[in-house]
C-alpha cells in the first residue's frame, strides 16, 4: 500500500486540501468551506473527504502539513486569552507607552490608541535587574515572583509572559522565574522573552512575548483537539505546522512558540511560489497572491525567499525572523468609494465573505474590485464550474450609482478606474519589496495566484516592466501545495554587541556555537536525521550609531578574522545597494543569527498529462472583454483551462477559466502551458 502526505491550508473562506502519493507523486486536491468557529471541523471534513474520494485508508497517511490562521486571527481580532506578565520593577507600563509614537500616516487628533492585549492591572513588577552586558545588578526577588504566580493562579490566568530588561544578555532571571511560577502554578504556560526573541528593544520584545502568551492557549487547545481527532480517525501521522519563516515544525513545538505561526498562511504561499518557480526553471520571482480582502507579495532571489526581522501584525510589531511578505488591504472584495471631495479610492475596506461583492447577491451594495471585473467581462457570470451565479446588472448599477455618476465618468471608465487604482496599489506593494530593497522588478518573474491574482497579473506586470508572468495550475489553492514543499526550519538569534575594530572572535564563535547547539537539539527532537541538517550563520551589522541593521550571511563555518572581514565588506556592499551609499566608518555587529533546517521529504509539483491535442477544443465561449490599453471592449475566446494540454499556446486577448480562478490574457501577450500545467505568459 502506498504512503501519502496531506496538506491542509485553512483560509478565511475555504479550507484547501492536497493529497500526495509519496510513491508516485500523484497529487489531488479538494476544497471545503472553512469553519471559522472551530477551524478543526473544516480541517477534518476536508481530510475525510479527500481520503474517501481517493479511496485511501487513514493509516496510509504518513505526514500532515498544516497552514493555520489561528494565531493570526486571535491577534487581529483581539480574541486571545487573558495573560499575566512579569516585568522588572518600574516598567509596568512598557506596553502602554510602547515607543510613544503614533503610526506615521495617522492624524493624532482623530487616532485612537489600540487597546493592548494585556491591561496594566495584569502586569506585575518584580524587583530584579540585569545590565546590558549581562551583569546582575539586582538579584531576582523570588518571593515577588511566587506572589505574582499565586495571584495569577488564583485568578485563573494561566498564560504568563516574562520579559525582563536585557534578558538577551543573561537569561538566568527569566529561566528562574519560570521555575518558580511552575512550582506555584504547575498548569501555567510560560513564555520567556529570551526564548521568543532574544534581541534588544524592550517594547518590541515584550509585545512579541506577550502575543505569544496571548495566543498560546488557543493554539494549544486547537492543535491538541486536532491531534486527538486525528487519533480518533485512526490517522497515525506526524502533524507539522507552517511558520512565518516558511519552515515547518512539529505541532508540539508550535505550541511552545505559537507567535511564530502568525504568518503561517502567507508563508505557505511563498513556499508554493518557490516550488512553482523551480518547476519552470525561474530563479528570481515575485509572488503575487491576491485574495478576497488582501494581497500578499514577496520576493524570491536566487531561489531564496527574502526574509526580514519582523513586520507588523495588526497594530503590533512582531520582530521575529519571517519571510519578507508585504500585505496590503486590496483584494477582490475591496470596496471602491468616492469621498465627499470627489476622491476615488479602492480598499482597504472590504466587503469580506459576507455580504461580499454586490454581484454575489448576498446583500452587498458597495461596488468592489470583483464587481468591476464582472462589468468589464473579465469574469464569467457563472463561476466555480457554474455553482455560483453572479449578478452583472446589480454590479453595474452599483458602479454607476456610487462611482460613475459622482465622478461624471461612464460606467466602463469607472469600472476600469477601480481596477487601475487597485493595480496601482499592488504595484506599490511590489515596489516596496523590490525597488526599495535594491532590486529591479524587471529582473523577476511574477508568479500570480490566489482567487484574483491571475486576473490582475498582466496589468500589474506591465506597470512594473515585468515581461514574464507565471500562473500555476491551481491558483486558488497554491498555498496548500506550498505546505508539501516545506522543510523543517528554525531561527535562533542573540544580541551580542561588538564594536569595531576589536571584535571578540572567541565570544562570537561561542554564541554561534550555542545557537547552533540549540538548533541541532531541536532538529533531533523533530527526528531530522543528522546527515540532512543544514546550518547557516548570519549577523546583523550597522555603522556605529545607526539604529537599524542589515543582515549579512557569514561565509565559512567559523568566525575568524578572515570571515569577519568578508562579512564587513559584504555589509558595505549591501548598504550601497539598499540605500545608494556606503561610509568609511566603523561597523558594529549587533545580533548573531543561526538558521537550522532539514529536508525530510518535501515533494515537487507533479507533471501534467495531456488532455487534448488542440487548444481549439478547449474553447467554451466567446465574449466581449474590456482591456485598458486598447479600444475598450474586444471580442475574445474563453477557454477551459482544464482542457489545455502542455504545449498549448494562446494569444491574447483571451480568458482562461478554471475551477477556482480566471486568467486574463491581455492583447499583445501569449500564454504557453508548460509540463506542470503552469501558464507562462509573455509579451508577444
Amino acid at each position: 500500500m502506498d504512503n501519502y502526505s496531506v496538506a491542509v491550508d485553512v483560509g478565511g473562506t475555504f479550507t484547501d486540501v492536497v493529497l500526495c502519493n509519496l510513491d508516485t507523486n500523484k497529487q489531488s486536491v479538494f476544497k471545503t468551506p472553512s469553519t471559522p468557529d472551530d477551524p478543526s471541523a473544516g480541517f477534518l471534513t476536508g481530510l475525510q473527504q479527500i481520503l474517501e474520494v481517493n479511496g485511501i485508508k487513514p493509516a496510509q497517511v504518513k505526514h500532515i502539513f498544516h497552514g493555520t490562521t489561528i494565531a493570526t486571527n486571535a491577534i487581529l481580532e483581539n480574541k486571545g486569552s487573558r495573560v499575566g506578565v512579569l516585568v522588572p520593577e518600574g516598567f509596568k507600563y512598557v506596553l502602554e507607552i510602547g515607543r510613544h509614537g503614533t503610526p506615521r500616516l495617522v492624524n493624532p487628533n482623530s487616532w485612537i490608541k489600540p487597546e493592548r492585549p494585556v491591561r496594566p492591572r495584569d502586569i506585575e513588577e518584580i524587583p530584579e535587574r540585569v545590565s546590558f552586558d549581562g551583569e546582575i545588578l539586582i538579584p531576582l526577588d523570588e518571593t515577588a515572583v511566587r506572589r505574582a504566580a499565586r495571584r495569577f493562579r488564583d485568578e485563573d490566568i494561566s498564560s504568563i509572559a516574562v520579559s525582563f530588561l536585557h534578558s538577551y544578555a543573561n537569561r538566568d532571571h527569566e529561566s528562574r522565574a519560570r521555575e518558580l511560577i511552575l512550582e506555584e502554578f504547575p498548569n501555567a504556560q510560560v513564555s520567556l522573552s529570551s526564548e521568543v526573541l532574544a534581541v534588544f528593544r524592550e517594547y518590541e520584545r515584550t509585545i512579541t512575548t506577550v502575543l505569544n502568551a496571548y495566543v498560546m492557549p488557543r493554539v494549544s487547545t486547537y492543535l491538541g483537539n486536532l491531534e486527538r481527532a486525528l487519533g480518533g480517525e485512526k490517522v497515525d501521522s506526524t502533524l507539522s505546522i507552517m511558520k512565518s519563516n516558511g519552515g515547518i515544525v512539529s505541532s508540539s513545538v508550535a505550541v511552545r512558540q505559537p507567535v511564530h505561526t502568525a504568518l503561517s498562511g502567507p508563508a505557505a504561499g511563498v513556499m508554493a511560489t518557490l516550488q512553482i518557480a523551480e518547476s519552470t526553471g525561474v530563479l528570481n520571482c515575485i509572488s503575487f497572491d491576491m485574495g478576497g480582502t488582501s494581497t500578499d507579495v514577496s520576493l524570491i532571489k536566487d531561489r531564496h525567499p527574502t526574509t526580514n526581522l519582523g513586520g507588523n501584525l495588526g497594530d503590533w510589531p512582531i520582530q521575529l525572523p519571517m519571510l519578507d511578505i508585504v500585505t496590503i488591504g486590496c483584494g477582490g472584495g475591496s470596496i471602491a468609494a468616492v469621498s465627499a471631495s470627489g476622491v476615488l479610492s479602492v480598499g482597504p475596506t472590504s466587503a469580506g465573505a459576507v455580504p461580499g461583492p454586490v454581484c454575489y447577491g448576498n446583500g452587498g451594495t458597495a461596488p468592489t474590485v470583483t464587481d468591476a471585473n464582472l462589468v468589464l467581462g473579465r469574469i464569467n457570470t457563472q463561476i466555480a464550474g457554474g455553482i455560483l451565479s453572479l449578478d452583472g446588472r446589480a454590479a453595474a448599477e452599483a458602479i454607476q450609482q456610487n462611482i460613475a455618476s459622482p465622478l461624471g465618468l461612464d460606467q466602463n471608465a469607472a469600472a476600469n478606474g477601480i481596477l487601475k487604482i487597485a493595480n496601482n496599489t499592488m504595484v506599490g506593494a511590489i515596489r516596496n519589496i523590490s525597488v526599495e530593497r535594491g532590486h529591479d522588478p524587471k529582473d523577476f518573474a511574477l508568479v500570480a495566484y490566489g482567487g484574483a491574482g491571475p486576473m490582475h497579473a498582466i496589468d500589474v506586470a506591465a506597470l512594473l516592466g515585468i515581461n514574464h508572468v507565471v500562473v500555476p495550475l491551481n491558483p486558488g489553492i497554491a498555498s496548500a501545495f506550498g505546505l508539501l514543499a516545506a522543510e523543517f526550519k528554525n531561527d535562533y538569534a542573540r544580541t551580542f554587541l561588538q564594536q569595531a575594530p576589536g571584535y571578540d572572535l572567541d565570544g562570537i564563535e561561542s554564541v554561534y556555537s550555542e545557537l547552533e547547539a540549540e538548533g541541532r537539539a531541536w532538529l533531533n527532537e523533530e527526528g531530522v536525521p543528522q546527515e540532512v541538517h543544514a546550518i547557516s550563520r548570519s549577523a546583523d551589522l550597522r555603522y556605529a550609531h545607526q539604529g537599524s541593521e542589515v543582515t549579512v550571511p557569514l561565509s565559512g563555518k567559523q568566525a575568524t578574522g578572515e570571515t569577519m572581514d568578508a562579512l564587513v565588506q559584504e555589509f558595505h556592499a549591501q548598504h550601497q545597494q539598499l540605500y545608494g551609499f556606503s561610509l568609511d566608518q566603523r561597523v558594529e555587529i549587533v545580533t548573531l543569527r543561526v538558521t537550522v533546517s532539514g529536508d525530510v521529504g518535501s515533494v515537487a509539483l507533479p507533471r501534467r498529462d495531456g488532455v487534448s491535442d488542440s487548444p481549439e477544443k478547449a474553447i467554451l465561449d466567446r465574449r466581449q472583454v474590456y482591456f485598458d490599453q486598447g479600444n475598450g471592449f474586444v471580442s475574445c475566446n474563453i477557454y477551459s483551462r482544464d482542457q489545455l494540454s502542455p504545449g498549448a499556446s494562446i494569444s491574447g486577448p483571451a480568458i482562461l477559466e478554471g475551477m477556482d480562478s480566471t486568467v486574463v490574457i491581455n492583447p499583445g501577450w501569449t500564454s504557453l502551458v508548460d509540463d506542470y500545467g503552469n501558464c507562462i505568459i509573455r509579451p508577444g
Partner: protein, 618 residues
C-alpha cells in the same frame, strides 16, 4: 505690524491645464504617498543620530516649481523663497542639492537651527517641474553646548552654526570645501556626516521618483493634477472654515512658564475675526519677544496651515498640500513679538510656544463650535543628558519624552505620546550606548485632565548617571501652566523634575533649565504633563473611571474628588448609589461648568488673563 494676505501668496493660478480624470489623479496621489514613504524609510534606516533614527524626527515633502507644496509636511512654510534669493531659478541645475538651516533668512520656514533641509530639483523636458525636500532634526552643529540648542541660550549664535542656503551638491559633485567647514563645526562630525548623507540620499531618491512619475503620466497631466489637488484642498479648508466659524471675534491667550533666563511667564494672544466672508487672524497683542529661546518665528503660511490642518481632518482623502494655508484671508504678526522675534533672538526651544499655539488654534475654534474640539495638549519634552566618558569626551543623549494629549469630543486623549510619529529611545538602547540607566518608565496617575473623556496622562522617566560627572538641560513646559480642558473638561496635570527623590539628597530642579550638574549615582526623575479633559467629568461612565483606577491612570482620591465615583479601596468595586449621591453633591457645590478649565472654569481669555495676573504676578 506685518499684515499678510493669503490671496497674495496664492500666486496666479495658471488655469492653463486641462482637467485630469479622477482615476489618473488618484493614481498620482497613490504614487506620491508611496514615494514619500519610501524616501523617509531611507532616512530612518541609514541616519546615524538617534534623534533621527530612533526618534524618527524627519520628513520628505514635494514642492511644485513655484515652491508650493504638492504633498508633505511643510505646513505652509516657504521652503524655496530663500534658496531663490541666492540661486535664481535659472542657475539651478539637474543634480544640485541645496542645504540650509537658517530660521531668519528663511523667514521661519525653518524654525530652529537643528532642523536641516536638503532640496533636490526635478528637471523634466529641460525645465524645473518640482523640488523634493528632505528634513530632519540633527544632533549637533556648533552652539553653546552639546546638542546646540538649549534652555539657557539667549541669541541665535548660541543655538548653533547657521547654514544659509548653499549648494552642497553641484550637478552631482559634492561641494567638499563647504562640507568640511560644516562638519568641522560639529562636536560629533561622524553623526553629522552620516545624517547629512542620509538626507541627501533621500532627497535624490525622491527626485528620481518624481521624475519617473512625470515620465509615466506626462508633464502636462502631472502639473495639472498637482494644481487641481492644491485647489481641492484649498477649497475644502476654505469651505469648512466658513461653515464652522460664525461672524464675530474669538480670542484666546496661552502662557509659557518661563523664558529660560528671566523667571517670568510670557503669553501670546490670538484673535480670529470674521466679517462677511473675510477671516483675519491677529496675533499682535502677544508679548514682546523673550530674552530666552522660546521665541517662534511664525509665518502667515504656518499659522494658516495650523487652521487648515484642523479643517483638513474633515476629508483626509485630499492631500495635505499648500492649499492648507487658504482657510483664512489675512494674518497679522508684530515684529519684535514672541511670534515674530527680531534677529538675533534665540529660537532653540520654540516648541514651547508653537505646541501651545497649535492647541490655541483649537481653543479659538472651541468658541466658534461650543467646545467641539480636542482639548489642550502638553508640550512634548526634550532632555539633554550630557556626560563625560572614560576618555574625557562629552557624550550627549537627547531624549524625547512623551506627554499627555487633549481629550476629544469622541474619545479620551492619548496617553504617553510624544507628538505624531516620533518614537522614544528604548531603555535597552540608552543603556547600551550611554553611561545611563533607566530605572522607571511609567504613567503619572491623575495627570490627564478629568472629563467625560479623560485627557491623556504624562509619564515618569527615571534616569541614573553612571559616569563620574555630567550636566543636563531640561526642556520641560507645563510646569506652571497646565493644559486647558474644554466643554466642562478640566485642565491637565503639571510637569516637574526632581533629583534623587525619596532620599536625603532630594532636590527639586527647575523644569526649564540648563547646566544642572549631577554626578555618578544621581537619579533624575521627570514627571511630564497631561492633556486637558473634554466634557463634564461627572458624566464619565463610572466603569471607565473604575478601569482607570485599576490600571493606575487615576487614583482613588481623584476618582472621588473629580469624577464623584466612589470605589471601595479594598475590593475596588464601584459603589453605585454612593456615586450617584456624590455626583449630585459635587454638581450642586460646584455649579455649572464653563467652556474652558485651567485652575478654574472660565469662558473668555480676558477672564483668565485677569486671574493669572493676580495669581502669578510677573
Amino acid at each position: 505690524m506685518t499684515t499678510f494676505r493669503q490671496d497674495e501668496q496664492a500666486t496666479g493660478r495658471s488655469d492653463g491645464y486641462a482637467a485630469v480624470d479622477p482615476v489618473t489623479r488618484q493614481l498620482i496621489r497613490g504614487s506620491l504617498r508611496a514615494a514619500k514613504l519610501e524616501c523617509e524609510l531611507i532616512i530612518e534606516r541609514t541616519a546615524m543620530s538617534a534623534f533621527i533614527r530612533e526618534k524618527k524626527d524627519y520628513t520628505v515633502s514635494f514642492l511644485d516649481a513655484r515652491g508650493h507644496e504638492i504633498y508633505g509636511d511643510t505646513m505652509g512654510s516657504d521652503i524655496m523663497g530663500c534658496v531663490w534669493q541666492y540661486y535664481p531659478e535659472e542657475t539651478i541645475n539637474q543634480g544640485d542639492v541645496y542645504w540650509y538651516n537658517d530660521p531668519y533668512i528663511s523667514q521661519g520656514s525653518i524654525t530652529h537651527t537643528p532642523d536641516m533641509v536638503f532640496i533636490s530639483p526635478v528637471f523634466h523636458e529641460g525645465a524645473v517641474v518640482a523640488y523634493c525636500h528632505s528634513f530632519a532634526h540633527f544632533w549637533d552643529l556648533g552652539g553653546s553646548r552639546p546638542g546646540s540648542i538649549g534652555p539657557a541660550n539667549t541669541e541665535i549664535f548660541h543655538d548653533g552654526t547657521l547654514v544659509p542656503p548653499i549648494k552642497i551638491i553641484d550637478r552631482g559633485e559634492l561641494n567638499d570645501e563647504a562640507y568640511r567647514i560644516i562638519l568641522r563645526n560639529s562636536r560629533y562630525p561622524d553623526l553629522l556626516e552620516g545624517d547629512s548623507k542620509a538626507l541627501m540620499a533621500a532627497a535624490q531618491r525622491a527626485q528620481e521618483r518624481l521624475l519617473e512619475m512625470f515620465d509615466r503620466y506626462g508633464n502636462q497631466t502631472m502639473l495639472a493634477a498637482i494644481e487641481q489637488d492644491q485647489r481641492d484642498t484649498a477649497a475644502l479648508v476654505r469651505r469648512k472654515a466658513l461653515e464652522i466659524i460664525p461672524e464675530g471675534d474669538y480670542s484666546v491667550r496661552d502662557y509659557m512658564d518661563h523664558s529660560g533666563v528671566e523667571d517670568r511667564w510670557y503669553s501670546f494672544h490670538l484673535q480670529l475675526s470674521r466679517r462677511g466672508d473675510h477671516i483675519v487672524l491677529d496675533t499682535t497683542l502677544s508679548d514682546d519677544q523673550a530674552d530666552g529661546s522660546i521665541n517662534f518665528v511664525a509665518s502667515p503660511g504656518t499659522l494658516g496651515a495650523y487652521f487648515g490642518q484642523h479643517f483638513h481632518q474633515y476629508d483626509p482623502s485630499l492631500l495635505s498640500n499648500s492649499g492648507l494655508v487658504e482657510s483664512i484671508d489675512e494674518v497679522k504678526l508684530r515684529p519684535g513679538s514672541i511670534l515674530l522675534p527680531e534677529w538675533p533672538a534665540a529660537l532653540g526651544c520654540r516648541a514651547h510656544t508653537f505646541t501651545k499655539l497649535k492647541s490655541a488654534v483649537r481653543a479659538v475654534l472651541a468658541q466658534a463650535t461650543d467646545g467641539q474640539v480636542m482639548a489642550g495638549t502638553a508640550v512634548y519634552v526634550i532632555v539633554y543628558w550630557r556626560m563625560k566618558d572614560d576618555t574625557g569626551q562629552w557624550l550627549l543623549c537627547t531624549d524625547g519624552i512623551a506627554v499627555g494629549h487633549g481629550a476629544r469630543p469622541f474619545a479620551d486623549g492619548l496617553d504617553a505620546i510624544y507628538q505624531r510619529h516620533n518614537e522614544n529611545y528604548p531603555g535597552e538602547f540608552m543603556e547600551m550606548e550611554f553611561p545611563l540607566r533607566m530605572e522607571r518608565y511609567a504613567i503619572v496617575p491623575d495627570s490627564g485632565g478629568a472629563g467625560k473623556f479623560r485627557g491623556g496622562c504624562g509619564v515618569i522617566r527615571d534616569v541614573r548617571l553612571l559616569a563620574d560627572i555630567g550636566t543636563f538641560g531640561l526642556r520641560v513646559e507645563n510646569n506652571r501652566f497646565p493644559t486647558w480642558g474644554v466643554a466642562g473638561g478640566m485642565g491637565g496635570g503639571t510637569s516637574r523634575v526632581v533629583m534623587n527623590p525619596g532620599t536625603g539628597q532630594e532636590k527639586a530642579i527647575r523644569a526649564f533649565s540648563d547646566d544642572n550638574t549631577w554626578s555618578r549615582g544621581d537619579l533624575v526623575r521627570i514627571y511630564t504633563a497631561g492633556g486637558g479633559g473634554w466634557g463634564d467629568p461627572l458624566e464619565r461612565e463610572p466603569h471607565l473611571v473604575n478601569d482607570d483606577v485599576k490600571d493606575g491612570f487615576v487614583t482613588l482620591e481623584a476618582a472621588l474628588r473629580d469624577y464623584g465615583v466612589v470605589i471601595n479601596p479594598v475590593t475596588l468595586k464601584t459603589d453605585e448609589p454612593g456615586t450617584e449621591a456624590k455626583r449630585k453633591d459635587i454638581s450642586s457645590s460646584r455649579g455649572p461648568t464653563k467652556l474652558f478649565h485651567r485652575f478654574n472654569y472660565f469662558d473668555t481669555a480676558d477672564e483668565e488673563y485677569e486671574w493669572i495676573n493676580e495669581h502669578f504676578p510677573r
